[in-house]
């Protein structure tokens, strides 16, 4: 069914002993796509990458690249650039020798090697560090050498395991832009593991959210952020408010939900629900309007219980009958004060049902 995918994980599982680390995973990646894997520690992201690179064999299922199964292909024949989580730079070689290594393996001439190594190191702003040893570099610099080494031979597929984790914010954002740029320029297919949701949101064509070896949800950043399908995803990406309640009516793509505490809200939903069914409603803090009086379809009366200064916005904790709500309040609005009575409102389109 996904025969035309560039990379295809077909029902792949991986177990170490009795522990299943990757669980019946289906994943199709198109050529030139930038796919990020996001998920808690230990959810199997690195393991998935290592299977694609050929260092771990799937316990069951198969992996294909360009329609060909690669299960029997040793790592050195897969032609994938890999940036390892711990950089894995060769300590006995200089920075330049590290970056030249893949070119040497491919029999690139000496002069061309020198030129390409120079370019690659300039790209990661390490032009003056050719003769250093990895141990003489900072963590962020090592990470950039690893990046240069994985890109210098222009592989079709690049796997990156948290390649920017050790960089400070400014350099990190710079490198994010550089990687995006390289991705577009060379048409690379990139599988990118990260812990940083902002990074995943800015860089990816699609994001896969991992949990316990399964993909909970995969989709465009906007889909993942604006329409998380499960509670796990809603809470993992960004902040969210969860209201549990019971469906009281379901018609014309609009649900009536009685949330805990007795208030009624309306939720836009294409899915069908039976009256009486238990549901969870997710609404992002920045979608909620706090005002002295209401204005939207959904109104919850609240009392401000805390206000936290966050620089560009105020985080307001508002106690509703259904429980505390987190509200992101822009600085333009008049600042709420602790103890204020207010109405928290949001439209039916700005909240959704999660599993």
């Amino acid at each position: 069914m996904m025969g035309n995918a560039f990379i295809h994980f077909d029902n792949v599982s991986k177990a170490f002993g009795v522990m299943t680390v990757v669980d019946n995973l289906e994943l199709a990646i198109q050529q030139g796509e930038f796919v990020s894997m996001l998920g808690p520690s230990g959810s199997g992201k690195t393991t998935l990458l290592m299977m694609l690179a050929g260092f771990e064999a799937p316990s069951s299922g198969s992996i294909s690249v360009k329609g060909k199964r690669v299960d029997a292909l040793p790592p050195y024949k897969r032609n994938m650039g890999v940036v390892f989580q711990n950089y894995a730079l060769f300590p006995h070689m200089t920075v330049a020798e590290n970056v030249a290594f893949p070119l040497k393996m491919r029999g690139v001439s000496r002069s061309e090697t020198a030129e390409r190594v120079g370019k690659a190191l300039d790209m990661v702003q390490l032009g003056q560090f050719h003769e250093r040893r990895p141990s003489q570099l900072s963590g962020g610099q090592q990470q950039r050498v690893a990046l240069a080494r994985a890109l210098v031979f222009e592989p079709e597929v690049v796997l990156m395991d948290e390649p920017l984790g050790a960089l400070d914010k400014k350099l990190r954002e710079q490198m994010q832009m550089d990687i995006r740029d390289i991705h577009h320029r060379l048409g690379l297919t990139i599988v990118f593991v990260t812990h940083d949701q902002a990074e995943a949101l800015t860089m990816s064509d699609r994001i896969a959210i991992f949990n316990h070896g399964k993909i909970e949800q995969i989709g465009k950043p906007s889909e993942i952020y604006d329409r998380p399908t499960t509670q796990f995803v809603a809470e993992f990406i960004g902040e969210t408010n969860l209201l549990s309640g019971r469906v009281t009516a379901c018609r014309n793509g609009l649900l009536d939900v009685a949330v805990e505490g007795g208030q009624q809200i309306k939720v836009a939903s294409t899915a069908k629900f039976e009256p009486g069914e238990h549901v969870k409603v997710s609404v992002r803090p920045e979608r909620i309007e706090l005002a002295p009086a209401g204005g939207s379809a959904n109104e919850l009366s609240v009392r401000v219980s805390d206000v936290v200064y966050r620089g560009d916005h105020l985080q307001v904790i508002a106690a509703a009958a259904s429980g505390p709500l987190v509200v992101k309040s822009t600085r333009k609005a008049s600042a709420p004060r602790i103890g204020d009575e207010a109405v928290a409102s949001f439209s039916p389109e700005q909240c959704w049902i999660v599993a």
């Binding site: 050195y76 897969r78 994938m80 650039g81 390892f84 894995a88 060769f90 006995h92 393996m105």
Partner: protein, 261 residues
């Protein structure tokens, strides 16, 4: 832990004195002018070093020691390194545990037992009284030192480095040559030094398997001390110790350089 600094110092010094005293007892005698190996030293000279390098028996034995030592070093280092690579990361398997034990066995088996066995066997295969025979015998007891050192060095290598090399296009043999072996080199060098030192001072096996033509310095010292206790022994001992110190210093420097790099 920090209690008793005085007793610690006293005990430490006592151990050092105990270990070093024999050396300090013999070394000055290397420079004696007298024909007797005893104190007091009437006057100093280098005549016994001269003897060492000119007297035929001594000269021959030094050359033999170097030939056999070099042969042993090469053979033991190659075999021991290959064995360590083969045993690497398989500590869990019973079979490999068995092999590991076999490689280390010569460390604990009495040399006399090995010597008798080898003498019988070498006679069968025409190795008795040959250089090759002595080299093989020395290799057997030198291999454990190589295995121990190289295994430790291999354990210190992050497997992901080898994975990285493979992902960059290096087939296994290239990974071995360009990543694994260079990173294990300090251990391989220590192993080689130990192998050479083992060969140099091995007497028992040499007595069993070497003919008169393969007399090594250690063997020569052994017979000299029984026949005529000449200060040439002290001179030979001096060379041994000086050589050991130089090699140890070299190993130390190599290791340090590798650590800094």
């Amino acid at each position: 832990m920090k209690a008793l600094p005085l007793s610690k110092a006293v005990f430490g010094s006592a151990v050092v004195v105990f270990l070093m005293a024999p050396l300090f007892a013999i070394l000055p005698l290397a420079f004696t002018d007298s024909v007797f190996l005893n104190y007091p030293i009437p006057s100093f000279s280098l005549r016994w070093f001269d003897e060492l390098f000119t007297a035929d028996a001594w000269r021959r034995s030094i050359i033999n020691s170097l030939i056999i030592g070099a042969g042993t070093t090469v053979l033991a280092t190659v075999l021991g390194t290959v064995a360590s690579l083969g045993l690497r990361g398989r500590s869990v398997s019973l079979l490999f545990g068995f092999f590991r034990t076999v490689f280390l066995l010569p460390m604990v088996v009495p040399a006399v037992v090995l010597g008798v066995g080898m003498q019988l066997m070498f006679a069968q295969y025409g190795l008795a009284n040959t250089y090759l025979g002595v080299i093989v015998a020395h290799t057997v007891i030198a291999i454990p030192f190589v295995v121990v050192n190289v295994t430790a060095a291999l354990q210190g290598i992050d497997h992901r480095l080898e994975n990285a090399a493979a992902s960059l296009g290096a087939p296994p043999i290239v990974v071995l040559r360009r990543v694994t072996l260079p990173l294990a080199m300090p251990g391989i060098i220590s192993g080689a030094v130990f192998a050479f030192a083992t060969s140099l001072d091995e007497v028992v096996l040499t007595l069993f398997v070497a003919g008169p033509n393969q007399r090594t310095v250690a063997r020569q010292m052994f017979s000299t001390i029984r026949e005529n206790i000449s200060p040439a022994i002290a001179a030979a001992a001096f060379l041994f110790i000086a050589g050991t110190v130089v090699i140890a210093a070299l190993v130390y420097l190599v290791r340090r350089r590798n650590q800094i790099a």
